[in-house]
Symmetry: C2
Subunit: 356 residues, 2 copies
């Protein structure tokens, strides 16, 4: 077992609209009960129980989402929330969280975890996290979890896996040769076929001093930014000057010692309504009810319905549709087009901004 | 112009679920803003303005719908509402209304009008109603309006038209040879092809003494039933003993002198969600918004959406669907299957009675 204390940083500042109308500007995906009865954020936090206590859990979120975070994580001490005044992608969030952790608990190890993915079984995840923490502590390397690809995804980052470096708690650790962000289709297909590539899960584990050193080396502005930013107006000034860049691009792609543990747990970033069918159980006809809604399906197949508890959606004689009811909005579209909601959201910005 | 005063009896006791979930047990179709911004009932009453004053308008409804009738017809004097303690089809309603009218204004003419149909233009309807009233007054015959058939309907009653009897205000009046209720398909097709048949609109005009005489002859129990039923408990007893039968079957099919005026106005009984497309204007892609909902259609065609004002329905990449949102229920089905809602309503009686 590792000797340094393990912290977790939950990234909860996302603001996408890929689950519109359930996710809205004021209620992003991580606050939705996707995957069960609790929000993705609450489930992400619960997954750490027994391994990382609340006092070592930080949540980075948008300033306007602090109340939501507190509502969904009632046991989180309020000063564990880092409220960003502006969205600056993951590098800023990681830099701020690392600075904070080093200040509060020098010499620790920490994990950086998106709060809007589904992962199961939780015990397998904790086991992998323990292994990564031990590897990070012992080696000083930056650890990432890689996901075995199931299709030639052009929207993900891919990791080229190098030679094995060690084995920890039954998890094999390998070096990372390189990161490839959103390859074109031929490359993605070659990666899938070649067997040497994994998807980048966006989950990282490292010693706090290691990521701070890497930031100083590859993104010195970020490394320095939070040293003296203790109040809201200082943070406003800091964020106004920060670049919007991912930690992958700012640091990981440029670092020499990055290692990867292939995930044995199931992982899904639930990127659209159609992905719900990958993480939830459907009935015998492939119809899915999520969010608490009651569904009555008659001669219906392959549909996904979302709504609140106490609501009813009747699917009669239809197939492969997404039917979402949230607030005063209702969405009906074919499942296979639910990735294209940006078209709708863009039109609403003009024709119905109150529904966004 | 006729000399007797003209009354109107609006039949507003219907309780169907063909517009579920917008129409429910507690909110039948006649109270919905189908066809515009006002309810069908309010529109039916408004159509009579200038011809029949509120003081000569009676509304027959179910006892539990009295408050709704008053809400939708604020100018109707409360004692013009006849509240039935039980549903007994149209013969009982007609008999009660005729008895009341004769008591209040002996020697009048009255029209019996369903309150859940669409009719336009209203001026054409009033002209036909005037013609029918004159013919009824002069002849003592029972008048009905016939609708030119547009398809071989097996769910309607048909009227075989006989020889012309007269012309009133440019409307031709003919004798009725016989009524045929819900013919089978070969007969309906023959009726359609033959050109001698019209649909029975369920709208009638007659002298009050003429319908009372016909009731005494063909349905004596109905004719006598309301003579002394002046309070609620007396009505309870009366209705408990009445047969449930239509005025068509109880009287018209058995009467010798029934006459018909072919309607020049447009008529639609709006029997299902798909019929909305026949009475409301769609956009260039055939998408229809009704009930007040805002619709955003993107690569969508031939859809009908229903919802309240302030709500939004997004139709994205779908076609020929009915999407209804009302209360806590949402319905999605192909337009051409919206006539089969009884299947759903029957299932809900077991699986979700609170949504009926």
């Amino acid at each position: 077992m590792h000797s340094k204390s393990l912290w977790a940083v939950l990234l909860a500042g996302g603001s996408g609209t890929r689950f519109w109308p359930a996710s809205r500007r004021a209620l992003p995906k991580q606050f939705l009960p996707i995957g069960g009865t609790r929000s993705l954020l609450a489930t992400t936090a619960a997954r750490l129980r027994g391994l990382v206590p609340w006092e070592r859990t930080l949540v980075v979120t948008a300033r306007e989402q602090v109340a939501l975070v507190r509502k969904h994580l009632r046991k989180l001490p309020p000063d564990q929330i880092l409220a960003e005044p502006a969205a600056r992608n993951t590098a800023a969030a990681v830099a701020w969280a690392a600075t904070e952790i080093e200040r509060r608990d020098p010499g620790s190890v920490h994990a950086v975890l998106p709060s809007d993915h589904t992962i199961a079984p939780a015990a397998d995840f904790r086991k992998a996290l323990r292994a990564a923490a031990e590897e990070a502590e012992a080696s000083g390397a930056l650890l990432t979890f890689g996901i075995r690809p199931t299709f030639a995804a052009t929207g993900y980052g891919w990791i080229e896996v190098g030679s094995p470096t060690s084995e920890r708690r039954g998890e094999s650790v390998s070096s990372v040769v390189r990161f490839v962000e959103k390859p074109d289709r031929p490359r993605a297909e070659a990666f899938l076929a070649g067997g040497r590539h994994l998807w980048n899960s966006g989950m990282f584990v490292w010693r706090t001093d290691a990521i701070l050193r890497a930031l100083r080396e590859h993104a010195p502005a970020l490394a320095e930014a939070f040293a003296n930013a203790r109040d809201a107006s200082a943070l406003d000034r800091v964020y106004a000057g920060l670049p919007s860049v991912s930690i992958d691009v700012a640091v990981l792609e440029r670092s020499k010692d990055v290692r990867v543990i292939p995930a044995r747990f199931r992982w899904n970033d639930v990127g659209s309504w159609s992905a719900l069918a990958e993480v939830l159980d459907a009935d015998g006809d492939g119809n899915l009810a999520a969010g608490g809604v009651q569904v009555l399906a008659e001669e219906a197949q392959g549909c996904t319905a979302w709504g609140r508890k106490g609501e009813l959606t009747v699917l009669f004689g239809v197939r492969d549709l997404v039917v979402v009811r949230a607030g005063k909005a209702t969405l009906v579209c074919p499942r296979e087009r639910s990735q294209e909601l940006k078209t709708i959201v863009d039109r609403l910005a003009k024709d119905g901004p109150s529904f966004l």
